[in-house]
Amino acid sequence: MVAFLKIRLNLLIRALHLAGWGYLLVAILACSGVILSFFGSVMASPTPEWGLAFSLPTLLWHYYRQDKRLLHHLHLPIKPILWAEYGFGSIPAAILLIFSKNWLGLAVLVACIAAIPFIPFSSKANQDLSKKITLNWIPVWAFEWKSGIRRMSWVGILLWWGSLIGSWWIGTLPLFAFLYGTAIMSFYEDVEPKEILIQTFEVKYGLLKKIGQHMVLANLLIAPQAVIFIIFNVQYWYFLLAIVVFVSMVTCFSLASKYAGWYPRRQKVAQSILSGLFVLCTVSAIFTPVALGWVGWKTWVAHQNMQRWFPYKTVSNLT
């Protein structure tokens, strides 16, 4: 078991090494304002919800982890391994809660981390479960959303309903919007086959049309939360505006990223650390113009790249 945890630690170090230590340091420094203000919020309001919020990333990680077979194959005690991993990963959150003297939040975090290993992993059985989710209301052109919602399955739906119920509280919608943005990024990691691409890029502004449609859909899906939020917190209307801008920009950036580096038979676009940096730029007011410029540039590159591979129909070749 110690050997297994060692392998995990090595993998983590390798991932950080691949991302570049210097780059990470710069990213953290660049976003230090956001991070510090986040710490400030946690310290200022020591409510038990923070414990729940901090356990959410672990819950998502647990649900989507792909190494169930490996763990079984190695005949290792699965639950102790998971407790050790999740406990180790939650140390920074626990420290923050201890510093803010949020004992109730800490108790919630510990309880959640202890309970998570009892939840089944993502598997074919979960795919069967996700098949029961009715997604006929999502139009054909938004196949990325159908696929993405099914992949998130009941976790996504629970989060959506949870955020809807808790939308009266000022912090729920921003927190949910952040998770929602991360989910949106993952929706655009897979690349569709060329037949579908041709249909999208058949017209000159096919990419812009697609981005527009997906932005509207992304915002419509959180419209119920937004309505409840504005009813209870009308004085913070600018929060809502910021969330609409954030969701729209993340959708546009993710879609453009998918197409900007496309080449024949490319099937996957890993949402890299750059995407994380983009999100941080978007949420920190001082860097928002940078994020806006970045998204514009990415869209232009995507348009140019797809016109190279799938030039739109001109009048001459239509006749």
Binding site: S130, F143, R265
Partner: protein
């Protein structure tokens, strides 16, 4: 008519197609035959536009061909994850559920299941259905019979014949299954060393079969008796 005039193409410095020329009539199935590594896939990728020809031209009815004129079934097609077979086909059939149902009947596909769970043969059948629903005047099939069971291969041959005749399509098809090619193709071109070595007409197909068999036997003899 599809006209391929003196195209040369390849990867980097490696020239694969060398001034290749070919003519295909509307309503014809044109077979492409060649040993492994002869350049069949490069040829299809060049016609489709995934590889830019170094020289030469490809025209359809006198106009430069575009990707919008072509449906291309690759040897190893891939799909979008977590979608049902029906949802995938609906992207091409639009609201015409009739076309989707028609393909379900022909290939007996479990369209209400996730594509991720399909077998190799089912994936191939789904890709073939999508290729036809794409409805383009030129269809390229790179090894369409790979992975298909006997019944599905037979059905595909029949569909190919019907489609080319009734819908006046141009079909270019590569396969290693010679009896199927000789049965459905109006012409078969042999690709060798990046050029079309010879184009056989139906009355020459027995000669083609004999030549291929002799060629294989000669190669085998050389391997068995290197001295």
């Amino acid at each position: 008519m599809l006209q391929i005039n003196d195209i040369s193409s390849g990867y980097g410095q490696n020239k694969i197609l060398n001034n290749l020329s070919l003519e295909c009539n509307t309503g014809d199935i044109h077979g492409i035959l060649g040993w492994n590594g002869a350049g069949k896939t490069t040829f299809f990728n060049t016609v489709f536009g995934f590889i830019k020809p170094w020289s030469g031209s490809i025209t359809l009815n006198g106009q430069p061909i575009t990707k919008h004129d072509i449906a291309f079934l690759e040897t190893d097609p891939y799909f979008y994850p977590n979608l049902l077979g029906r949802e995938y086909l609906e992207m091409f059939a639009g609201k015409s559920s009739q076309s989707t149902a028609q393909w379900q009947t022909i290939f007996d596909l479990p369209l209400d299941d996730f594509i991720d769970g399909y077998s190799t043969g089912m994936l191939k059948k789904l890709a073939i259905a999508a290729t036809f629903l794409h409805d383009r005047p030129v269809i390229l099939f790179d090894e369409p019979f790979n992975g298909l069971d006997l019944e599905s291969a037979e059905k595909l041959s029949w569909i190919l014949e019907q489609t080319t005749r009734q819908q006046h399509k141009i079909i270019l098809i590569s396969s290693h299954i010679l009896p199927t090619l000789t049965r459905i193709c109006a012409k078969i071109s042999q690709l060798e060393g990046g050029v079309i070595a010879y184009t056989y007409l139906p009355d020459e197909y027995p000669v083609l079969e004999l030549q291929l068999k002799e060629n294989i036997h000669q190669k085998l003899e050389k391997l068995m008796n290197p001295g």
